[in-house]
Amino acid sequence: MKRSIPLAIVMVGGILFMIQYFIPHQYSQTLFDYYTEWAPLVGAFALVLGVGSLSRLHSHKIKRKAKNWQYSYAVLIPLFGVPFFALIMPESLGGGIMQTMGGDRVTQGVFDFTYMNVQVPIQATMFSLLAFYIASAAFRAFRAKSALASVLLIAAIIVMLGQVPIGELIGKWFPKIGLWILRYPNLGAKRAIALGVGFGMLATQLKIIFGVERNWLGGAGE
């Protein structure tokens, strides 16, 4: 009941839909249509997991006054505040969500404001920090310690020069060689890796369907 039925569902569902692919008949198609209609609805509720564990973790932190507990409010307030304003508050009080953002319809609500001015700049800036780290690592860590590492670095430098317009000023052939590397040796290597990854993925799918791989069951008690 706790483990065997979910495992059986996975196995039956997996085998059924694996075979379904080869059967174009209408009954098989109907089954498939039901699944594509239901799955997003079922999947939508998975968000509950994220919301639940976040709120539990941070309310615990606040209760225990753990290190940096004040910041937990910065998680919890927008977590509930954003949907509250978007779905419940009237538009006159900063509620509502954008209808379509085309044209000059200025967005006013809390929902749009937090997305545009909090979420977007923070996430984009966090990622852009890596530009600084890559520069520092370029100087302090990327070493041509061996023949293979040297090949890697040389190919990288050619590609880097080939990608920027100034590369062509330095040497006419930089962009050409850069593209050649991308289209041929790079492609050969990546195809081999993709095939390996492809087989790995297929094997994992099979392991899950046949119940060999059961990690996904984890953390919900025996």
């Binding site: 979910p6 509720f45 639940g52 927008p78 700049p121 530009a131 890559i134 430098i157 050969g188």
Partner: protein, 211 residues
């Protein structure tokens, strides 16, 4: 008005995060936490308005014929909540199993086709045809041999010895390194692009110093 305030808030957070490069500080920590809360809150809202409302609430409220059957997937989805009650947590495996099993089953033949057979098909190319430029001919040879050699490198059932496996795996690792070099170069470009994007925001949208 709101727009101006928004720009300043966005600029404040942008600079606040860059201050991390100098030293870890409270503004950075605040931003780090806010982004988690806002993105999840945003996710709840969009999921409700795009999925639950049009696919469940509205059909039932409008009394569409046959809509009652939607109660089944909705109840199944609701079982996720049991995850937070240790005694009933196992029930949350049911919706997972529903999505996982069929998802894997649907994906299996399609992945086989897109990631394996299509790639095999694409590596069977003529090395030379009349009128082909020399760099393309060399390229084709390098590509096909490269794929083969790199596959040999990742083949674990034979020792890397002898003309086929020994030489093959050596060529393989060289080709792989050239491929990684390309990735390296592109990654550098990508990371810098993200920084340029933020500078465009700070100097352009916020300060209007540049176009």
């Amino acid at each position: 008005m709101t727009e101006t305030i928004g720009l300043w808030v966005a600029a404040l957070f942008t600079i606040g995060i860059y201050s991390f490069l100098y030293k870890e500080n409270p503004l950075y920590r605040l931003a780090e936490h806010l982004v988690v809360g806002v993105s999840t809150g945003y996710g709840i809202t969009v999921t409700y308005t795009n999925v639950i409302q049009p696919r469940f609430v509205e059909p039932i409220a409008n009394g569409e014929p046959g809509a009652w059957i939607l109660v089944v997937p909705a109840l199944l989805g609701l079982l996720y909540i049991t995850r937070f009650f240790p005694n009933a947590a196992w029930l949350s495996r049911y919706p997972m199993a529903f999505l996982m099993g069929a998802g894997m089953g649907i994906g299996f033949p399609l992945s086989m086709k897109a990631s394996v057979l299509r790639q095999l098909e694409a590596s069977l190319i003529p090395l030379y045809e009349t009128g082909m430029a020399w760099d393309v001919v060399i390229g084709n040879v390098v590509m096909v041999l490269g794929t083969l050699a790199a596959l040999i490198y990742f083949f674990f059932s034979k020792p890397h010895k002898g003309p086929f496996f020994g030489t093959g795996s050596k060529i393989g690792i060289w080709v792989i390194m050239v491929g990684f070099g390309a990735t390296f170069g592109f990654t550098v470009m990508g990371r810098i692009s993200l920084l340029i994007g933020r500078i465009q925001f700070l100097l352009g949208d916020w300060l209007h110093i540049i176009k």
